[in-house]
């Protein structure tokens, strides 16, 4: 589904990623673990195209997408939920969610909306409220629903649990399981590795802009414990 080879990302003089390679197969849920500044968000941003790679290769669904701009990658089948949620604060909840499926036609939008409302009743209750007025957990639901609205092949979740209370972490986890049931491939980053590992099928440990280890959930859990990530 997604294959990243030898990716390098620089911001000014700082190198955020030094030749990172990862593989994500269809149907997997891959977790990127690592401390703050390890390069997890840079990797997600380079995959969606918000950060440009100075070297390396990104292949998605069998095609090289290095030349494809960010919006083109999203339309090719990537959904993106950014770190810190970043909902559109002045827009209503419904508009936020449907902005993820612009130009897909009214029928597809209505279908997506009613499916999402089935999973997250909160969306329907708050449909007309500006998203900027919601709590952090509710905003995270909106950001997830926005990323899911086009039913992407690959879902990129950057720190979906950041700053959330345990009850919301449980609800977001539940939502991610719904997406897994639809067969969605997921690449997610999380500092809160413990709840995230319950969702993942495989993981990578990142440090200082490099992949240090990779392995099954059990292996990553042990590694992360040893290196004090949990």
């Amino acid at each position: 589904m997604l294959s990243v080879e030898n990716l390098e990302v620089r911001y000014g003089g700082i190198t955020a990623l030094h030749g990172v390679s990862i593989e994500v197969a269809e149907g997997e849920t891959i977790l990127l673990v690592g401390a703050n500044g390890a390069g997890k968000s840079s990797l997600i941003n380079a995959v969606i195209g918000l950060a440009s790679a100075s070297r390396g290769n990104v292949r998605f669904a069998g095609k090289d997408i290095n030349a494809l701009p960010c919006d083109g990658r999203a339309r090719a089948g990537m959904g993106y939920s950014p770190e810190g949620r970043r909902v559109f604060p002045t827009m209503s909840v419904a508009d936020n969610v449907l902005s993820g499926a612009c130009g897909r036609g009214g029928t597809a939008q209505r279908e997506a909306w009613s499916w999402l409302c089935g999973i997250f009743p909160m969306l329907e209750e708050r449909a007309e409220q500006p998203a900027g007025q919601l709590s952090g957990g509710q905003q995270q639901i909106v950001a997830l629903a926005r990323a899911m609205c086009s039913f992407p092949k690959l879902l990129l979740l950057d720190e979906p649990f950041l700053g959330l209370a345990p009850v919301w972490i449980e609800r977001i986890s539940e939502a991610i399981r719904h997406m897994q049931q639809r067969g969605t491939t997921i690449l997610m980053t999380e500092q809160m590795a413990r709840p995230a590992l319950r969702l993942a099928t495989r993981g990578y440990v990142m440090r200082s802009g490099e992949i240090r280890r990779s392995g099954t959930v059990a292996e990553i859990r042990e590694l992360a414990l040893a290196e004090e990530y949990l």
């Binding site: 701009p69 002045t90 086009s150």
Partner: protein
Amino acid sequence: MQGIVATSLIGISLGAQYALLALGFTLIFGILGVVNFAHGGFYVLGGYIAYSAISFLGMPYALAVITAALGTAALGYLFERFLLDRLIDDHLATLMLTLGLYMMISSGILITFGPQSPAFAFPLTGVLRAYGFYVPIENLVVLAVCVAGIVSIYALIYRTDFGRALRALADDRAVATAQGLRPKVLFPTAFALATGLAGLTGALVTPILSLAPHVGDPVLATSFLIVILGGLGSVGGATVAAFLVGMVEAFSAVYLGGSKGALALFVLVLIMLVVKPSGLFGQRARGA
């Protein structure tokens, strides 16, 4: 009583014109983060396109107005797509570009048509008389078209996918792009919409007010003032402020006389900036 009603009608009709101009101005600022100093230029250009279409091509007035709106929209599209878009995040560069375009438009018109006002009159004249009030028909026509324009813009922005995409880009450009929205298509289209509105207003209003190469200057100043009063980037604020400004202008011109109208307006804005710097409906200063 009659005087108040008549003055209010003038105020409303001024307000509707200003709303069309200010909506375009605030859209460009809200979505692209660009202060369009060429806005008045598109207004004048709209007037001259309509004038030329009637005088040299023999078009009927309605068709000439449509031509002016489309012509200014097309110029706006090309300008954004091929010049402004390259430097969209550089505030100083976009300022120079739009200011430069304004100078090119107004001196181009000056060279082509000369400094004098051409004979450009509204095709419908006459006065409607009802219940003891007199209303010029041309003002009614302009008011009707402007109100239809305002309603259409609202429908476009709040009821369509296109509008939703524009609002998303205005709120958070990076995230909106990562949802698959195309700035390369939407930015020039939004710019064209705004300049087309300025051109439409110019074609409608200049035969009533006046047409000359320099009449864009006060348009820019008024648009600026309305948008600051309403809150930068706020669509609702711009609409309310436009009617407010129209009313203040009409009443102070009639009851205070001449130049005191402009003075009253700037005092109003000054008070606004001191009391509530974000404007009537402004929520936050726009992040660059």
